[in-house]
Structures are given as C-alpha cells and as structure tokens.
C-alpha cells in the first residue's frame, strides 16, 4: 500500500521512515529466534558463526548436537518426563476447567466475579510466589519430588487458560439449542456430548493447547518442586545454561521452535474454524 497520491514530501518521507522503524522492530522480535537455528548445526562447540559457516562450507555444518540430544540419557529422560507431565496435567486441566466454565457461564451462578478471580489467580500470581508456596506445602504433604506433585502443580497453573478460552466460547453459545435438545427428549448427558461439546470444542482445544504449553514450558515450579528424577526439558535447559552450556541446548531450542510453530498453526486453524461457525450461526 503506497502512500496516497496527494501526500506531500514530508508525509512521504515519514511514511517510509515509519515502515523502516516497524521493520526494525519486527527484526528485533524475530531475529533471536531465527539466529539459533543455523548455529545449532555448528560442527564446533562455539556459539557464534565460524568463518567456514559463513562461507557455507558443508563441513562446517553437522548434526552433532542433535545426535548428542538423541543419545544423551539426561535429555531423553527430560523429554519423557516433559511429555508425561504435560499430558496428564493437560487432561486434568481441560476436564476441570471446561466443567467449571460451563458452570460459570450460567446466568444463575452466584458470586461469579469473585469465583472467576480465584479460579484464574494461578495466572496472575508471579510464578516465583506460586513456586515458593508449593515448595513448602508440597514437601509438607509428601508431594515434592514426585511426578504427581508436578502434575498437580501444572494443572493448577494451566486451568485458568482453559477456563478463559471455554468461557469465551460459551459467550456466543445459543442456550436455546440445549433446550431444543431437551424438548426433543434428550437426557442432559446426551445433550452435553451431542450438542454442547461439538460447539465448544474449538475453545476446549485451544484451552488445552494453552494448558499443554504452560506445562511444557514451565520451569520455575519445576526448579523448586522437582528433583533430578522429575527433570523436564526446561529444567534441563536451565541447568545446562547455568552449568555447562553446550550447543545441544541450541539444537533443543530449534526443535522447540518447530513445536511452537506447529502449535501456532493448530490454534490459527481453530480460530478460523470458530469464526466460520460464528459467521454461519444466526445471531
């Protein structure tokens, strides 16, 4: 979109300057994520581009750090733990959050604001405070340094996202549909699975994705509540950066970026589907 034809020289200059400024800001946003990708294929354990790499010499690139990642027991244990913990906490958070959102979106729900505030408090409270509280409390009740403890902690941190996304989906929900189902003789449970669930599914899935990424990405609580046995990928990265930083971390980082690109695409598809459905439904 070029500047309008009636624009004067000052406006024209400003128009292009503004574009350049915005370009620089976008550059600032995206470069850090892109720059680690080529570096993760480095042959030598340096965190910078070697002259050979800049000359695009094929010998300067290798899969050495990826190989290290896939053969190192520490990393493989971390991957396993990350997926186990994220999987179970996502399921728990999605079920609890969706059910609660159904209750919260009913007009008759008393103290709605207060309860909503409490339910999404895990998202508001700084992680370091949640972690400190959980560290003391979970050690007291024997949940510290257990997989169950971390799963419960991550579930608590993930539910606010599910509650928010599902509640948002339910705002546009047409309640006469459930009444119609009931008047046609459907039991509440059947109505729920046949009518409500298909309609709120996009909200539930995006909430679940948020819960998953929260758990998968979370490191503060893991650092405090977990021990080596429950180490997750972020835990391993954190201790890797602190102690012996090796380009394996860059290889892991690159793979995580690929994972987030996939998650982002799924969310975008869901959003489009949701908009399409909204556009079709009356009112």
């Amino acid at each position: 979109m070029p500047p309008p034809v009636y624009a004067g020289p000052v406006e024209r200059t400003w128009y292009y300057t503004f574009r350049v400024i915005c370009g620089l800001i976008f550059f600032f946003l995206i470069t850090p994520i892109l720059v680690i990708m080529p570096l993760s294929f480095n042959t030598v354990p340096f965190f910078t581009f070697t002259p050979e790499m800049l000359a695009l010499d094929p010998d300067a690139f290798s899969l050495r750090w990826y190989n290290d990642f896939f053969t190192n027991a520490n990393w493989q244990g971390a991957v396993k733990n990350s997926f186990i913990i994220a999987f179970f906490s996502t399921i728990l958070a999605t079920v609890l959050g969706t059910v609660a959102a159904l209750g919260l979106s009913r007009a008759v729900m008393p103290y709605k604001t207060l309860i909503m505030a409490i339910l999404i408090s895990p998202m508001i409270v700084p992680l370091i405070i949640s972690a400190a509280g959980m560290y003391f409390f979970y050690s007291k009740i024997g949940l510290a340094s257990t997989h169950l403890g971390i799963i419960l902690a991550h579930t608590a941190l993930g539910t606010p996202f599910v509650v928010i996304t599902v509640t948002a989906t339910l705002v546009g929900f047409d309640h006469s549909l459930t009444r119609a189902a009931a008047s046609l003789g459907s039991t509440p449970v059947r109505t729920f699975f046949k009518v409500v669930v298909p309609l709120i599914l996009p909200g539930v899935i995006s909430g679940a994705l948020f819960a998953f990424i929260t758990s998968f990405d979370e490191v503060v609580v893991v650092l405090f509540v977990a021990s080596f046995e429950q180490r997750t990928i972020p835990w391993q990265m954190f201790s890797g950066i602190r102690e012996n930083i090796s380009p394996t971390i860059l290889a892991v980082a690159t793979m995580l970026v690929v994972v987030s690109v996939m998650l982002l695409s799924v969310l975008e598809l869901l959003r489009r589907r949701n908009e399409r459905l909204r556009g079709m439904s009356p009112g």
Binding site: E11, F18, I25, F26, L29, I30, T31, P32, I33, V35, I36, L39, F47, T48, F49, L96, V99, A100, G103, L104, M109, P110, I115, M116, A117, I118, L119, I120, P122, I124, V125, P126, L127, I128, I129, A132, G133, M134, Y135, F136, F137, L152, T155, A156, T159, F161, I164, F210, D217, V219, F224, P234, F238, I241, L250, A253, V257, S260, L263, L264
Partner: protein
Amino acid sequence: MAQVEAAPGIMTTADGQPLKLSLQRALRRSKIRAMLLVAPLFLFILVTFLLPILDMTFRSVENQLVSEILHRSVPLLQQWDEKTGDLPPEDVFQAMVEDFKEGRENRTIGRVGTRLNYEVAGMSSLFRSTARKARRIKEGPYTDALIKANKRWGDVETWRLIKRESGTITLSYYLAAVDLRFGSDGSVQAQPENRQIYVKLFVRTLWLSTLITALCLVLGYPISYLLATLPTRTSNMLMILVLLPFWTSLLVRTTSWIVLLQQEGVINDLLVWVGIIADDARIRMIHNQAGTIIAMTHILLPFMVLPLYSVMKTIPPSYMRAAMSLGANPFTAFMRVYVPNTVAGIGAGGILVFIIAIGYYITPALVGGTSGTLISNFIAYHMQVSLNWGLAGALGAILLAIVLILYLLYDKIVGIDNMKLG
C-alpha cells in the same frame, strides 16, 4: 403431594403450586447445579494453589522455634523485666543450661542459633560454642558457669533478644524485608548500612519493570498501529512475527539472547568484523542490567502488542480523516484523536507487562548477573541457599500484595473477562 390451597388470583402451576414458589425452587436447583459444576475446580485450586500460598504467608510470621526448643527457659523469661538492665535470675540460667543439654542431644539447638542469627549477627556461633560447653556444666551457680562458657550470656541484650523472639508470631521477617529491625529496646530502627539491600532491590525491581514497560510501549505502539491499519491479509502475515516469539519457550528466547549478547557472541563478532569496536574492547551486554532489560523487553513485547492491537483495530480510520479534513495536521490528528482512543489498550498492555515483569525470575537469573537481579531472585536465594524461609515468605508476600493491587487496577481498566489470549 398435598394440594396447596392457592389464594384466588395467584397463578399456580398444573399441580397447584404457586408459580412464584415453583420458579424459586427451579432457580435454586439450577443455582446448585451451576455451583456443583464449578466446585471441583474450585476445591482443586484451593488445595493445590491457594493453601500453599497461605502457608507461605503464614510462614513469614510464624515463630514457634525458639519457644519450642527453649521450652524451659522461655516461660521463666516472661517473668523477667528486661527494662531494669539486670540479668535474668539464676533459675533462668539453670533452665537455659538444661535446654542446651536437651537441644544438643536432639540436634535442634543449632536451629535456634540460626534463627536468632537473622536478628543479630554472632548468635549462631554463640549457640554452637555454648552447646559444646554446656554439657560440662554440672552444678550451680549456673549464671557464672554460662557466662564463663561465653561472655555474651552476661550481656542483657542477648536475653532481651531471646525474650523478644519467643512469641509465636513475629514481624521481624517483614521488618527485615524492608531493611528495618527491632532495636535492643524493642523499637523499630533501620538496619545497619551494610545490611540494607531489600528496599534498594524493591526500588530496582520497580524501576526496571517501569523501564521495560516503557520500552515495550515505545516498541509496541508503532507495530500495533501498523498491524491495525494494514489490510487483513498482510497484517495476519506480520502478526506471525509477534505470535511466534509469544509461543516460543521462554528458555529458548533467553538462550538466544545469551548467544547474541555474550562477549564472544554474534553481535560483538559482527561489531568487531565491521570494525566499530576493537577485538579487545568487546562490549559487555550480558550478565548485567542491560542483559535483563534487553531480554525481558523482547520477551514481554507481545504482551504489549496484543492488547494494543485489539484496541486499535476498533478505531475507525475515518476519525483521523475527519480530524484532518477539519484542518488538523497529521501529527495533531494523531495526538489529539488517535492516541486518546488507545488509552485503554495502553493501560491494559502496560499493567500486564508490568505485572509480569516485577515477578520475573528465569531471565534475570540467567542473564542478569548481579546488577540485573530482581526481588524474585532473592526470594529464590533465601529459599534454596540461605534457607531463611521466613524472609523468603515475607518478601514473597510483599511482592504478592503489589501484584494484587496492580491486578485490581487492571480489572478496573479492562476487566478480567476481557483478557485476551493469543
């Protein structure tokens, strides 16, 4: 069901119930049903999240250790008048020696020393050395024997301290968290110069958070404007550049900044290669405040752009054109018409970024060095290294209070229901 005699003129249901009553019942049933749906999550959050935080807050005032372990001497000390300036009577000394013997056997006496050492330096070593010698004290006069073991027992201040810290609740952690302490006469006074760190740290945390918020606004405003005014197709493409960092793991982004900023890193290499700086004069951009500011601005920028964008999207472009057709130059039109319309977005994004920034832990811990650490790093330090959990709890509770106040403000401006995700 018994037929209810309905007064004439009152509407009834088919089975003769007054309609009002029947409706009330139905309403109550559906209310209970709604509450039952919310209950599981509510209880879950209560147990796994709220109780731990309450527990931490409780820990910041809890103080049972001294009275529990010195259980013989502390009750006797209550009768002693610390204002006279005399040492406690002989029976207190005798009880203290017995407490020491028992405490040494149970290996608990050192914990009292550590606890009191938070208040007055040297207490830990006093308790350790006395514990070694106390078992040789077989008979009275205990006053002289204890003072012979360590002359600090002859100091009234030591006894005053023990008496003051023998209550079940203490405010001393909170005082310590704002660089204050109890003086020997029980009055509140400033910590000695070299132990005043927390007020400075709170101020630094607030200042850095403000600076990062401001930087996010300066960087976020232009691109939000661009995204909101471009055609949807283009802006959706550019939005990916905002959303991808938003969705990328925090540790990945922090790692990237380490790679970019360190002295052997990409930016320094580039500057040397271009010839702006000499090879031996590489700029230190990491493990100091600059590192924290740069990395956190990058990490929090999407949290500013998303609310700004959603507000700007609702401003019709005709407003600006109207202002200009009425004679405003583009700058005036922008400042007087466009910016006031985005205040809600600025408020929402600003408070959101600020709230996240002041509780940030990971990034400052990895790239902050010593000058770039925030209050949360000290909470972690007291939990994991110094094991002064009371102080960690007090610092945490103060931080939590600040965040909750800001959050109420956020709720007033945007409403929690309008929180946008992604």
